[in-house]
């Protein structure tokens, strides 16, 4: 029987992998993938906890919303990355340090 804990373990693993990718990767696309992984971890949590909710299927529906929003966010992020590439001719975030003081 798959318990809530199993879900949460998978979710934590996904979150950690995503976080690690965001912090360590040198490619903006890969960082974006890391963000997606974190989002998926969160959605998994929503679905997992939805089973114990008093309202039926609310978790699943919330998850669907989140997926749609994630897709939209990804599109926007990709557009930003495209623009960044146009300006800096690179998508390595380590080399874009214009925010430095």
């Amino acid at each position: 029987m798959i318990t809530l804990t199993d879900f949460l373990v998978v979710s934590v693993m996904l979150f950690c992998i995503g976080l690690y990718m965001i912090v360590s990767k040198r490619n903006a696309i890969q960082i974006l993938i890391g963000i997606e992984l974190i989002l998926n971890a969160a959605i998994l949590n929503l679905v997992a906890f939805g089973k114990h909710d008093s309202v039926n299927n609310s978790g699943q529906i919330f998850a669907l919303f989140a997926i749609v929003l994630a897709a939209a966010t990804t599109a926007v992020a990709l557009a930003i990355i495209l623009n960044v590439y146009r300006k800096y001719k690179t998508i390595d975030p380590g080399k874009i340090n214009n925010l430095k003081d």
Binding site: L19, I22, V23, S24, I31, P93, G94, I96, N97, N98, L99, K100, D101
Partner: protein
């Protein structure tokens, strides 16, 4: 007075053009001289006490300038300082008198104050109060005002005890001495007396007479033994001014001013004569490179033949000064003497001394004038006895010298003042000045005095002739007490030196010492203390205040630098930092 000043000033100016011809400060001399004439004329015409005071000061100031005209001579500088300071003493008196008069009468107008029925005439001193139509003051103020005027007169007209500046004032050019210190300025004091005459009460007038009499006598005795030509004349001026004051004191108001006028002429004449003589002596000195004092009568003599016109002028001036008949001096001086005797009639015995002293003084006058003239003009030139090989070319000088002499000599004779040469009452000037004060009564004095004066004067003249020209009779011992007293000018200068000058100098030195050691020391101490305090403050400022600020700045900077290290601009780094912090928070939360 207006006429008098102008008439005297004209010959002196003409004379000066020649006398000062070779002086390098020729134009300056005339500037000063004109300045003096302006002040003097203004002094005579003003009708306001404040203006009077102002011109009184200006006259004193121009006199100061002219006495010190040869300011490279140390003696001249000393003399003009002395004259100025002594005049200041008198000016204080005049100023305080004017202030008191204004307080009492609320006006400065001389006419309103001193006219026949003016404010002064209407005021009385009664029961210790000085009552006037405009108010009343304690009587003491009246005495102070009179004393102030008195002081002013004494200083300006060189009366005892403030007379010592006048002989010293002879350091100025001779023409200046003639105009200022013989004829006009010194007469200003008498003139002032004449203007404020109604102020004086009977007692005050008596004091005035005493002072005048004493001064006349003292100055005459001093003049007997002086050897400096101009000094003799200066003392004789003091003596004659004493006569004028005396005349004022005994109520011979008109005679006093009359004498003032006649004296101005003959004294000016004598001074101009002295100027010529001194000038010639200077020529001798410069031509022959001698080291002599050109003013000393010891070197002169026998100038009668060499300077004939000067000699005649000197004789006329001298006779007028003695007061022999047919001269103007006779008219005025006998007027004074007669009225002095009339005044003492019915007074106490002590007051009879005054006219007697005046009489004796007039004989002394005869003697010193004779001595002067005989020594200068008769006998042989004594310089030749000492230096036998002298080149001499003496003359009376050009018309600029001759004309003033002639003019003044004519003025010294009687017709200018009175058609009757023996009666002063006939003089037009006398009549014009007479202001109803004189009680006219015929007395024996009118006959006795002139005869007495002139007979004895002639005797004295002969005596002097015998002593100084024939040199056959007794010579005065030059060591006796009286001689020394006279020669040293009654030691008055020395007394002043000891009593006033030395203490003042000593006081000055003490003040200087006090200033230098105590006050300066205090200030230096303060300086040092504040220096130390300032250094302490500077140190505190630098190390404590600034140090504190620097410390804060350093801390802030280091914090900033520390924080800056996180601001790399790398997005991932930010995220990493955030992660670390969140983890730290969690760890902390678990631990606590």
């Amino acid at each position: 007075m207006l006429l008098l000043v102008s008439i005297i000033a004209l010959p002196v100016h003409i004379y000066s053009t020649a006398y000062m011809k070779y002086d390098e400060r020729y134009s300056r001399y005339f500037t000063y001289l004109s300045f003096f004439c302006f002040s003097m004329l203004a002094l005579v015409v003003v009708d306001n006490l404040v203006l009077f005071y102002a011109f009184w000061e200006l006259v004193g100031f121009s006199s100061y300038l002219l006495i010190g005209f040869w300011f490279t001579k140390d003696k001249a500088v000393q003399a003009n300082k002395k004259a100025f300071i002594m005049n200041r003493v008198g000016d204080i008196g005049l100023l305080s008198a004017i202030i008191i008069l204004f307080t009492q009468f609320h006006t400065f107008d001389i006419l309103t104050l001193f006219a026949n029925k003016g404010l002064i005439a209407q005021s009385v001193v009664n029961n210790g109060l000085w009552i006037a139509p405009t108010g009343q003051l304690p009587a003491i103020w009246q005495y102070i005002a009179v004393a102030g005027i008195f002081l002013a007169v004494v200083a300006k007209s060189a009366q005892f005890p403030l007379h010592t500046w006048l002989p010293d004032a002879m350091e100025g050019p001779t023409s200046v001495s003639a105009l200022i210190h013989a004829a006009t300025m010194v007469a200003a004091g008498v003139f002032l007396l004449g203007r404020v005459y109604p102020m004086f009460t009977e007692t005050e007038l008596t004091i005035l007479a005493c002072i005048g009499c004493f001064t006349a006598f003292m100055a005459a005795t001093i003049a007997l033994t002086q050897n400096d030509l101009k000094r003799i004349l200066a003392y004789s001026t003091i003596s004659q001014l004493g006569f004028m004051i005396l005349a004022m004191g005994v109520g011979a108001y008109a005679s006093s001013l009359f004498h003032l006028a006649t004296h101005a002429f003959f004294k000016c004449l004598l001074f101009l004569v002295a100027g010529i003589v001194i000038h010639q002596m200077q020529h001798i000195r410069d031509d022959n490179d001698l080291d002599i004092d050109p003013q000393s009568i010891l070197y002169m003599g026998g100038l009668r033949k060499r300077l004939p016109l000067t000699f005649i002028a000197a004789i006329i001036g001298g006779l007028a000064l003695i007061g022999l008949p047919l001269t103007s001096g006779y008219l005025s001086k006998d007027g004074i003497l007669i009225q002095a005797f009339e005044w003492s009639e019915g007074k106490s015995v002590w007051l009879k001394i005054i006219p007697l002293t005046a009489l004796i003084t007039s004989w002394l006058t005869a003697f010193y004038v004779a001595r002067l003239i005989f020594k200068v003009f008769f006998g042989d030139l004594r310089l030749l006895n000492i230096h036998p090989k002298l080149k001499l070319h003496l003359t009376d000088g050009g018309w600029q010298y001759k004309l003033p002499l002639a003019l003044l000599a004519v003025c010294c004779l009687f017709p200018l003042f009175s058609f009757n040469p023996f009666s002063y009452e006939q003089g037009w000037l006398f009549k014009g000045l007479n202001i109803s004060r004189i009680t006219k009564f015929e007395s024996v004095y009118h006959l006795i005095i002139p005869v007495l004066v002139n007979v004895i004067s002639l005797v004295v003249l002969y005596l002097a002739y015998a002593i100084y020209v024939k040199q056959n009779s007794f010579a005065f011992s030059q060591t006796g007490f009286l001689y020394r007293l006279s020669y040293n000018q009654w030691y008055i200068d020395k007394i002043y030196k000891r009593v006033f000058v030395k203490p003042v100098l000593g006081f000055g030195k003490a003040c200087f010492w006090f200033d230098k050691n105590v006050i300066d020391g205090l200030i230096h101490l303060l300086t040092k203390l504040s220096g130390y305090a300032a250094r302490l403050t500077a140190w505190a400022d630098k190390y404590i205040v600034d140090g504190f600020l620097h410390l804060i700045a350093t801390i802030v900077q280091s914090i900033g630098n520390f924080a800056r290290k996180f601001q790399t601009g790398k997005v991932q780094y930010y995220l990493f930092s955030m992660l670390v912090i969140v983890l730290l928070l969690f760890i902390l939360k678990i631990l606590i």
